[in-house]
């Protein structure tokens, strides 16, 4: 035993000396290169047991096969992560029973029990062999089963993942009336499968990486090879590989780690729970990132216009969708400057309000002790509190609080003379408007900016609001999402791209992919306009006539 220990140590040292070329950044807390699988199964198991000491959910199962049970096999897996069925039925069953029933020649068995086992005995589907013990540990911790074979320097990793997960349910944050009701779950494989169902093109690639030193989270890059802009792809890969953090808990971490401007309140990537949105973006030439343990996929790059698009727009008729889009933009503006305009008009420029309304506002504000700015601030703050509270309450109480809070508190405040009724209406309308923005991240940005605008309005009236606008627009104009100006296509105007922003032009018009993405393959649809169809009809008729 001691000799073997020394031998192992010697081996370790030798490997350590060869470590200089290793670029793997995951090694920061490990000095040695990952040890290789030994032939001696006991050494391997000992290594594993050492690394996974005190983790009592790791199970070690040894099996003896062969005519005289002379070969030891060891299965290592984590209880809870594996599908016990696979292990019982497909691995253990075939190993223990079927190998005995199979009749290769005894010499073969003696010579090459491993190959026999690997090729013929395991009826599980997805297997691979590796020789790196740390990778083996990672696989075990991800839910695979490791099969060690005494005398063989490789370990077989059998995919046996099967843990409890949430079933595919409608996405909670992005409901639509018409459209698919599947939302992502927390398992990467399920999510990639969901997206695959929309795109069956062989050029649709799902490239996986692992990020996070301790979490070793799997993430997948989804793109279509002959459409996507290659520079963008390599940029994203580079950024992802530069991430050096302990754990990736959610797609939000990835988002914040690879985005360019983290000062900005505006999201530079879209996040979505819907596979159809991911599929649509990928078809346009964008890149999607799926992250294990997160039902939110990231879509890169994005512009301000995409934050206002809902998948439903494309499934319904274009006129309605156009009007709805315009409504959303208006709602965004209201959400942004609603209270500020109230403050500016009542405190600074009452001449701008119609006379009767001005008198009415003055009348209802009799006895209100606060200036308009404080009033607005109080109401807005109260509303934000209600909103925050509403998220955490269990469902049955949550609904009630919403109604109670909105109506009763507002009403009571009015009757107590703290705020004026018009203020309540303004705040309510503002809040409702901010909910109609499809992207929650964008809505948060507007919520935040609303307070800044209120401050501007309180100090400098309408001029302050205009200044605020200029400052915000300046920021947006400079902001880039991975090289794409954030305000495209309003900036660097490209008429064909505008068709999908403020309005939703008829599907016939979407013949080309968004020019701003600079994709390889520009055309996405044949020209199906009625005139064209007519001319096709005429052509066809002519051909028929000619034939006869």
């Amino acid at each position: 035993m001691l000799a073997k220990g020394v031998f192992l140590l010697g081996l370790f040292n030798k490997l350590f000396k060869n470590n200089k070329n290793n670029k793997n950044s995951n090694d920061e807390y490990k000095d040695v290169e990952s040890p290789k699988v030994k032939e001696n199964i006991e050494e391997n198991i000992k290594y594993i047991k050492d690394m996974l000491k005190d983790s009592d959910d790791v199970i070690y199962r040894d099996i003896w096969v062969g005519e005289e049970f002379q070969h030891k096999l060891e299965l290592v897996f984590v209880d809870g992560l594996v599908d016990k069925n696979i292990i019982n039925e497909h691995v253990m069953h075939s190993l223990m029973l079927d190998t005995r029933q199979a009749k290769p020649s005894i010499e073969e068995i003696k010579k090459n029990i491993y190959e026999v086992i690997k090729k013929a005995a395991i009826t599980g589907g997805d297997i691979k062999e590796i020789d790196d013990l740390d990778k083996c540990i990672t696989s075990i911790l991800s839910g695979d089963t490791a099969l060690f074979l005494d005398g063989h320097p490789k370990v077989v990793i059998i995919s046996s993942r099967g843990w409890q997960m949430r079933s595919v349910t409608p996405p909670e944050t992005e409901m639509v009336v018409r459209g698919a009701r599947e939302g992502f779950t927390e398992t990467l494989r399920v999510n990639t499968a969901l997206v695959r169902r929309w795109i069956r093109d062989p050029k649709f690639k799902i490239k996986q990486m692992q990020i996070g030193k301790r979490s070793r989270t799997d993430i997948a890059l989804l793109y279509i090879d002959d459409i996507v802009n290659k520079d963008l792809l390599s940029l994203i890969k580079e950024r992802l590989q530069q991430i050096d953090i302990d754990g990736i808990l959610e797609s939000g971490y990835v988002e914040q780690l690879i985005e360019e401007d983290w000062h900005s309140p505006f999201p530079q990537m879209l996040n979505t729970e819907r596979p159809d949105k991911v599929a649509a973006s990928v078809l346009e030439g964008r890149i999607a990132i799926l992250i294990d343990n997160s039902p939110f996929a990231l879509i890169i790059p994005t512009t301000l216009a995409t934050l206002f698009q809902s998948p439903e727009d494309y499934f319904e008729r274009w006129m309605i969708s156009s009007l709805l889009r315009i409504l959303r933009f208006t709602a965004a503006i209201i959400a942004l400057v609603g209270p500020s305009i109230y403050i500016a008009f009542t405190s600074y420029h009452p001449g701008m309000i119609p006379t009767k309304l001005a008198l009415y506002i003055a009348a209802t504000r009799q006895g209100v002790p606060f200036p308009a700015f404080m009033e607005a601030l109080i109401m807005e703050a109260t509303f934000e509190l209600l909103r925050e509270a509403g998220i955490r309450l269990p469902v049955p109480i949550g609904q009630t609080i919403g109604i109670v809070g909105g109506l009763i508190i507002g009403q009571a405040a009015v009757m107590a003379g703290i705020v004026s009724p018009l203020m309540v209406i303004v705040v309510a309308v503002t809040a409702v408007s901010s909910f109609s923005i499809p992207s929650y991240s964008a809505a948060i940005a507007f919520r935040l900016l609303r307070f800044a605008f209120m401050l501007f309005a309180a100090v400098l009236g309408l001029y302050g609001i205009m200044l605020g606008f200029i400052l915000m627009l300046t920021h947006l104009v400079v902001l880039k999402s991975f090289g794409l100006p954030y305000l495209s296509p309003f900036v660097e105007v490209n008429l064909s791209d505008l068709a999908d922003t403020l309005i939703r032009a008829p599907l016939m018009m979407f013949k080309r992919r968004p020019a701003t993405l600079d994709t390889q393959n520009k055309k996405r649809m044949k020209d199906l306009r009625p005139e064209k169809i007519e001319s096709m009809e005429i052509d066809r008729r002519d051909n028929n006539d000619k034939k006869q």
Partner: protein
């Protein structure tokens, strides 16, 4: 998408020129025009605009021969270093003067119509710092901002004026062309002052992505702004007649005051127009600020123009405070228009001649 993002396209150039020219001048434009030319204001604007267009094309042509250099550099080539330095200093001063003029007029109007008791210094400083914020990023964001603000400025203004169409008395434009040619000429020169802004062409050439559409974009921008000026003056003169227009300080605002937008929820629209006009003045100020910063940085061979943005702010601010009253402001404005004449008319001609001389000189030296 991963394009070269430091340059502006020619479309952006034409919008940038438009918004830079559309500044504080528009408020007083109808008044100046009718004072000089009576009911022929529209014609004068058209002719003045075309004249300015010719000179803009001139400048464009000269600058396009040195597409990677700003005025500071190519004037040195054309007209000996010391002359060029003096001219460049004048150019910087020119931009600063117009920046501060715009700023001051804006402050005065804002104070009168929007914020009566706020000190004008506050109004000016805030606008100036906002301008500084965007100028630090370079010409491309300024151009992009102009692209976005352009429809926001122009479309509501044109729509708001529409209900006044019933108040227009077309006979206010008669009699046509019954004034002496001298008066007409004076009017034309006066309107040329409203087109100040395109001098930034002297310095922004290196940042334009040239695709052979330069002439077209300059043309488009000029015709758009001529159209816009004519549109606005048409309403003003149509409603007030030329005598009344000429005695008003800011006729455009008075017109807005008299508009009755039926059924709309905003009653007195002039505050709305003021808000929109803030954008117009801002684009002008930031463009001038940038041009001044850029020229100065080339002059003193600074590495980046961003260092100079903040130091220039106090200069512009104090220049804006020089005139004691609104009356003096317009007095200074009329002095400044002489400078305009120099930079728009005389200088291009001089440079053109210098260019021809240089070519001749080069040909001679080639022969020898």
């Amino acid at each position: 998408m991963i394009k070269n993002n430091d340059k502006i396209s020619e479309n952006q150039l034409s919008i940038l020129l438009f918004t830079t020219m559309l500044g504080a001048g528009i408020l007083s434009l109808p008044s100046d025009v009718t004072k000089a030319a009576g009911p022929n204001g529209l014609i004068v604007i058209l002719l003045g605009g075309i004249l300015a267009l010719i000179f803009a094309r001139f400048i464009g042509r000269i600058a396009s021969i040195f597409p990677t250099e700003t005025f500071v550099e190519y004037s040195a080539k054309l007209m000996t270093k010391p002359v060029s330095v003096i001219l460049s200093i004048f150019l910087v001063a020119y931009f600063l003067i117009f920046c501060s003029l715009n700023l001051r007029i804006f402050g005065e109007v804002a104070k009168s119509y929007l914020l009566n008791s706020t000190p004008i210094e506050v109004i000016m400083i805030t606008l100036l710092f906002t301008s500084g914020y965007i100028v630090r990023y370079g010409i491309e964001p300024i151009a992009r901002l102009s692209e976005i603000l352009f429809p926001i400025m122009v479309i509501p203004t044109m729509i708001i004026l529409l209900p006044a169409i019933t108040d227009i008395d077309l006979s206010n434009f008669l009699p046509i062309l019954r004034i002496s040619p001298l008066m007409l000429l004076k009017g034309i020169l006066l309107t040329a002052y409203s087109f100040v802004g395109f001098e930034i062409l002297y310095v922004i050439f290196p940042y334009i992505q040239l695709e052979n559409k330069l002439k077209k974009s300059i043309n488009i921008s000029f015709f758009s702004i001529i159209f816009f000026y004519i549109y606005v003056t048409f309403y003003t003169m149509g409603i007030f007649g030329y005598k009344e227009t000429s005695v008003q300080l800011w006729p455009l605002l008075t017109v807005i005051k008299s508009i009755n937008f039926p059924g709309f929820f905003i009653e007195n629209l002039e505050s709305l127009i003021m808000g929109i006009w803030t954008f117009a003045v801002f684009t002008s100020i930031s463009a001038f600020h940038y041009a001044a910063t850029l020229s100065l940085s080339k002059l003193i061979k600074a590495r980046e123009h961003t260092y100079l943005v903040i130091p220039l702010i106090p200069i512009i601010y104090f220049m804006a405070l020089i005139p004691d009253s609104i009356v003096e402001v317009y007095k200074y404005a009329s002095y400044a228009s002489i400078l305009t004449l120099f930079f728009i008319v005389i200088l291009p001609i001089l440079m053109f001649l210098a260019m021809k001389l240089r070519d001749k000189g080069m040909k001679n030296s080639e022969k020898n």
